[in-house]
């Protein structure tokens, strides 16, 4: 089998995929609600791993996967019930299977005894959990009677009759007679059950002709069933009360179509079953007057019962088929007459993940895609530069050039979107890891937890997906550890014993929003506040809103767990989460209702490469505002402007007071417009829906900009998300609206007691005044 060792890599690749399928399936299993398709898929996965392991001689793997497979097989047959213990055992088994694959891949022997415990648990599951004594399977184990002896050994076999039939057919196709089939053994035995409706004669048909026609096809043995024949006094001579079982032994060249032809005109007026006679399974033989022409007449208790054709091993009890057929006399028409019986086997297969033959995906090295993304980025800049130069040309001239450039802009945009979508991945790859985490956390804390997910197919840049794992892990742990109550407590306060953690993803205004919601006790604000004061994070006596208190949990070093548990409570959780999220250009917020639960909301950009922005000017500087944040821009009238006691300016916009932020003051830019009524106010909105009016000199226009990370090239700045290069070659900063809001709070609300640093959404802030444009 050395030749085949070249397929080892394929095997390991495929096994890794199968392991993932099995794991996902196992994690979805739950007691009481068993999806058989799922169980079948897991069974097949283990089965395939075993099959390949055998081919490469990985004996440990074969032995173990066999144990695993046996339990899955019993499970899909319904012989053992799904219990929580069993699921745990199966998950352990799946992990172990992965380890064994690892050893096989490294070509090292697994440590002796590695599988012992799990094998014992699997076997225990089999013996302890049986629903009922194993069902005797009505399958023949007796060697079938065959006209032509089988050609077989341990590894392979050919059924004698079948081969003979094939050879005969081949000889038939080969008029020269040089075919290899011998003409002696190529006879096929058909069993035909013909049960006409009793008014068949009225339509002018004559069963005798049909029987005669069959005789022309080969050797026939006809048995007439008289069971339905009424007493002479009741006999209606115009009706037919007979039915027949015919055994036809014909040349293999006589196809089923020839038999069908005989009954062509009565197909709708009879119950007809035709089966090519595979030898009869032994267990069916004693009761069924089936294939054998010499079979005794059927017992009186089964009047003219048409037994199931042996070839199909139907599971329908004969008692229901016969009377039904007799009573309705409508069965067996059209297709029915040609049906060989049920085709769905025991433990049938439902939908699977594996599609057909062709795949529609290719694997591409990530570097290649990133080069492509980069080039598209540069192209976007170049296109912007051309547009910039063209603006200087006298209007009305170069009409075609203008139009061409518009098209170029359009195509560039589409190209950018296509390239970005290559890097996009559904968040399901992250979400799918969470059931396992939830299970482990639930076990560690002794809580009962249900995980619900939605929006798994929401797509976002691969980098974002990858960097979501840690934050989500922290957040879910946190929800289970701190948020959810224990089952007893929940019951006492009238909640279901099991807490629910809901994980969802959706696209919202050009970003992806991920929420982790639990139905636990909510944030204990009194506790959070006293902890924050104790740790010196908040001044004693400071008045904070509920929302501000809730956001204290994102401060570095904050932890309210009374005892440091195994799970969270190491005091690094939520502030690390916030840092990771803001490193991705995202934000996190929390909304909590005491007694009802908490909702953590993550908002992240869909791509990290380019963005649609609005270029604005302040003094000599240019800034870019993400288009997704902009609501509108307007020039306020003096009457709309109001100064507040704390020097915070607000503006009345659309019936709502909006805080004004003077960018030139915030960033210390000289020679800028200081009067909002002479400049412009750009109304922007943050993820949590709060609005802000940015006072700028001018709005220059909309543009796609390529995001150049400030952190990797310089350092992180508050209120600034990243930088970009404009069409004229100048560097412009891309503003972070939520960051600006936080900065403006410092400058504007300096007379109010505030926790420092700010408890909300921005990162640790250096003094705002130090900030200069690049």
């Amino acid at each position: 089998m050395d030749d085949l060792s070249r397929f080892k890599q394929t095997y390991f690749d495929e096994s890794a995929e199968l392991m993932a399928v099995a794991e996902a399936g196992l994690l979805r299993l739950s007691p009481g609600d068993v999806d058989m398709d799922e169980v079948n898929a897991i069974f097949r996965a283990v089965h395939s791993i075993k099959g390949g392991a055998g081919a490469f001689g990985f004996s440990e793997l074969v032995a173990f996967s066999h144990e695993f497979e046996t339990v899955m097989d019993e499970l899909r047959n319904g012989a053992i019930p799904v219990t929580t213990d069993l699921i745990d055992t199966l998950i352990r088994a799946n992990d172990l299977l992965g380890q064994l694959l690892g050893y096989a891949g490294d070509e090292t022997d697994p440590p002796p005894g590695l599988t012992d415990d799990t094998v014992a648990a699997l076997r225990h599951a089999l013996s302890a959990n049986r629903n009922s004594p194993p069902q005797p399977v009505a399958e023949s184990t007796a060697p079938p009677a065959s006209a032509t002896p089988d050609d077989e050994d341990d590894e392979a076999g050919i059924f004698g009759d079948a081969l003979a039939a094939i050879n005969a057919a081949r000889a038939d196709d080969d008029p020269s007679g040089t075919g290899s089939g011998s003409a002696t053994a190529d006879r096929v035995r058909w069993t035909i059950r013909f049960r006409p409706k009793n008014d068949l004669l009225l339509s002018g048909n004559e069963p005798a002709y049909m029987l005669r026609a069959l005789r022309r096809l080969g050797e026939v043995n006809i048995h007439c069933h008289l069971d339905d024949l009424p007493a002479l006094a009741d006999l209606d001579a115009e009706l037919l009360h007979l039915s027949w079982t015919i055994t036809l032994t014909a040349d293999a060249s006589v196809g089923r179509d020839r038999i069908d032809d005989v009954f062509e005109f009565v197909a709708d007026d009879c119950d007809l079953q035709i089966s090519a006679d595979a030898p009869l399974p032994a267990v069916v033989e004693p009761t069924a007057p089936a294939a054998s022409a010499a079979a005794p007449p059927p017992a009186r208790s089964e009047p003219a019962a048409v037994p199931a054709p042996p070839a199909t091993q139907t599971t329908t009890p004969p008692a229901t088929t016969a009377p039904a057929a007799a009573a309705q006399a409508t069965t067996g028409k059209g297709d029915g007459a040609k049906t060989d019986g049920p085709t769905k086997p025991r433990g049938g297969n439902g939908g699977g993940d594996h599609g057909g033959l062709t795949t529609h995906t290719i694997r591409v090295d990530l570097d290649k895609i990133d080069r492509l993304v980069n080039m598209v980025g540069e192209m976007v800049i170049t296109q912007a530069m051309i547009a910039e130069h063209l603006r200087d040309l006298p209007p009305g001239q170069f009409q075609e050039l203008q139009e061409g450039l518009e098209q170029l802009a359009q195509h560039t945009r589409e190209l950018r979107e296509s390239v970005m979508s290559i890097r996009a991945q559904p968040v399901s790859s992250v979400f799918s890891r969470m059931p396992r985490l939830v299970r482990e956390c639930a076990a560690l804390t002794g809580k009962e937890v249900l995980l619900a997910t939605s929006g798994e197919n929401t797509e976002v840049d691969k980098t974002v997906v990858e960097n979501l794992v840690d934050p989500l892990t922290h957040m879910i742990r946190n929800s289970i550890d701190h948020g959810l109550e224990g089952p007893e407590e929940r019951e006492r306060i009238g909640k279901p014993r099991a807490g629910t953690v809901h994980l969802s993803a959706q696209h919202r205004s050009g970003r992806i929003v991920i929420e982790v919601t639990d139905d636990g006790r909510g944030i204990n604000r009194a506790k959070v506040l006293s902890k924050a004061i104790e740790k010196g994070l908040v001044q004693p006596g400071a008045s904070l809103t509920d929302e501000e208190i809730d956001h204290l949990i994102f401060l570095p070093g904050f932890s309210t767990a009374d005892q440091v548990s195994n799970l969270s409570g190491r005091g690094v959780g939520m502030d690390v989460v916030r840092r990771n999220i803001s490193a991705l250009g995202g934000r996190i917020g929390v909304y909590s209702t005491p007694g009802e639960g908490s909702r953590f909301v993550l908002s992240l950009p869909l791509t990290l490469a380019v963005l649609d922005g609005m270029v604005i000017s302040v003094g000599e500087e240019r800034f870019v505002l993400p288009l997704t944040n902009i609501v509108e821009s307007l020039r306020p009238k003096p009457v709309d402007l109001h100064g507040l006691v704390n020097k915070c300016d607000v503006m009345m916009a659309r019936g709502e007071y909006v805080r004004l932020v003077y960018l030139h003051r915030l960033f210390g830019i000289p020679k800028a417009v200081d009067d909002a009524t002479r400049g412009l106010v750009v109304l922007v909105e943050t993820e949590d829906g709060s609005r802000l009016g940015l006072v700028v000199d001018e709005v220059l226009g909309q543009q796609q900009v390529v995001i150049k990370s400030l952190e990797s090239n310089f350092r992180r700045l508050d209120g600034v998300a990243a930088a970009t290069i404009l069409g004229d070659g100048r560097v412009a900063l891309i503003l972070d609206v939520a960051g600006l809001r936080e900065m403006s709070r410092h400058t504007g609300d300096s007379d109010r007691a505030r926790p420092a640093p700010t408890p909300a959404l921005a990162g640790p802030s250096p003094s705002p005044r130090q900030r200069q444009t690049v």
Binding site: T10, G51, A156, I166, S180, R256, Q313, G350, G352, H354
Partner: protein
């Protein structure tokens, strides 16, 4: 004599590894091999072009091997198409099931390449 045309074998298995191994073995023995990942895909492949032999796994998603065999046997044109089942369980009941469904023969997995070739030659010429 007719010109020698390569016989075409369809291997049906949900395991890529297994399909690859069967294909490799039979191509080496001078057969043309096409692949399908389940019974449904096999039906499509057979409808699309004539095959001389089908080698099918039993346990597959969408449509399993025994169903595939029965469906093929119900089509007059394929009543004498050789069909081998490639199976890990070759006990008598499995064999009887396969025979009843209309299989021509069986081969155990993992298979010995020489054995596979010899059985294929016997049924397919």
């Amino acid at each position: 004599m007719e010109p020698r045309v390569k016989k075409k074998v369809l291997t049906v298995d949900d395991s890529r590894t297994m399909r690859d191994m069967v294909s490799f073995t039979l191509r080496g023995a001078g057969y043309e091999v096409v692949e399908a990942a389940d019974g449904q895909a096999a039906m499509t492949a057979i409808a699309a072009s004539k095959v001389d032999l089908v080698i099918t796994d039993l346990n597959m998603p969408v449509m399993d091997g025994l169903t595939l065999i029965r469906k093929l046997r119900a089509i007059p044109a394929h009543r004498s198409l050789p069909i081998l089942m490639l199976t890990t369980e070759a006990d008598d009941s499995k064999k009887a099931e396969g025979r009843a469904a209309g299989a021509t023969g069986w081969i155990v997995k993992p298979f010995n390449p020489d054995k596979l070739i010899s059985v294929v030659q016997k049924v397919c010429g």
